[in-house]
């Protein structure tokens, strides 16, 4: 008998199961009695509970510790409704200050105005302080009040490029010295930086223009 379980170790288990079967009806009966039941609903505290009972309540349930109502503030007035496009508004107001007659705007609006400065033109820009700058217009950036144009020239055999803001109060005048010989096929003539297409110095051209202008205007005041 003693050798039997070691040879078949699970043999003893089977006898155990058989013993369990005998118990089974009793066990199941006990489990049914402890079956799942719904959680009881929380009973609200009776209103007007007498004062002397309050101390028996847990601390968090005492009326002075009850949760306070959260204050809800109304949303602030919408700024986008107050001013739909503030950038456009600022641009407009600034243009009214810096360019009241709209001449400068027309001078650089190369998409609409046929008489405007165009890429490829040679211009002379004079400033309120500092020397004038001459050169070929490589590009015009139309960006509202930030509109600027890029002028390239060669001074003492060194290429110099200057991007100038059109509506800068420092810019006194922009004169067109010479138009492009034929309409360039691009809006931005960055290829003119390459050695092959570079216009080199335009100083001579501008100098002759200034001389002509002076002779033409005589003693009269410059425009």
């Amino acid at each position: 008998m003693a050798a039997l379980p070691t040879m078949r170790p699970l043999g003893c288990l089977r006898t155990l199961f058989r013993a369990q079967d005998a118990f089974q009806p009793q066990m199941s009966r006990r489990f049914i009695s402890t079956a799942y039941s719904k959680r009881p609903e929380r009973v609200p505290l009776p209103p007007n509970l007498p004062q002397q009972f309050l101390s028996q309540l847990p601390v968090r349930m005492q009326p002075q510790n009850a949760s306070k109502p959260v204050k809800v503030y109304p949303a602030p007035p919408s700024t986008s409704k107050a001013c739909k496009d503030p950038v456009a508004k600022i641009t407009e107001s600034q243009l009214a200050v810096l360019d009241p007659k709209g001449e400068r705007k027309a001078l650089f609006d190369y998409r609409r105005n046929t008489r405007s400065v165009k890429p490829g033109d040679i211009v002379r820009v004079t400033f309120k302080n500092g020397d004038p700058f001459n050169g070929v217009v490589l590009s015009i950036k139309l960006r509202g009040i930030d509109t600027s144009f890029l002028v390239r020239n060669e001074l003492t055999r060194v290429g110099v490029e200057m991007s100038i803001k059109v509506f800068s109060p420092n810019v006194q005048s922009v004169e067109i010295v010479q138009r492009a010989e034929r309409k360039p096929r691009r809006a931005r003539l960055y290829y003119m930086r390459s050695r092959k297409h570079d216009r080199r110095s335009v100083e001579n051209l501008v100098a002759s223009y200034v001389r002509q202008k002076r002779a033409f205007l005589g003693g009269k005041r410059q425009q």
Binding site: L155, T156, V158, S163
Partner: protein, 130 residues
Amino acid sequence: MIQLKTLLNCIDNSGASVVECVNVLKKKRPATIGDRIVVVVQKQRAAGSEGSGTALANKVRRGDIRHAVVVRVKKELQRKDGSVVRFGDNACVLVNKAGDPIGTRMNGVVGQELRDKQWSKILSLAPVHV
């Protein structure tokens, strides 16, 4: 954007023609117009090639370490009034430790920014400012 190893043209008559930046002084960023840098002379101007070459034959020689002031940069530079200036090359002028230019003449345009940084001696030598 002048930094370590940048090659610059030297536009004065000190005798150097190409110099290499080895240090930017008083700044932890790349140098720009008006900044002082330390350079090594890499290429000498041929002595006597210029008109008055005999008297002030090259004051500096290849391999010399000198201070210099940047006067032109390729990197675009924004001015106070919003305009942007860009030159076709990087160029500098050699100066001594006291800040006086070593050369006596300059050929080439220089940036206006030198005025803000009080390099008036260089500005007075330069033929054109932009």
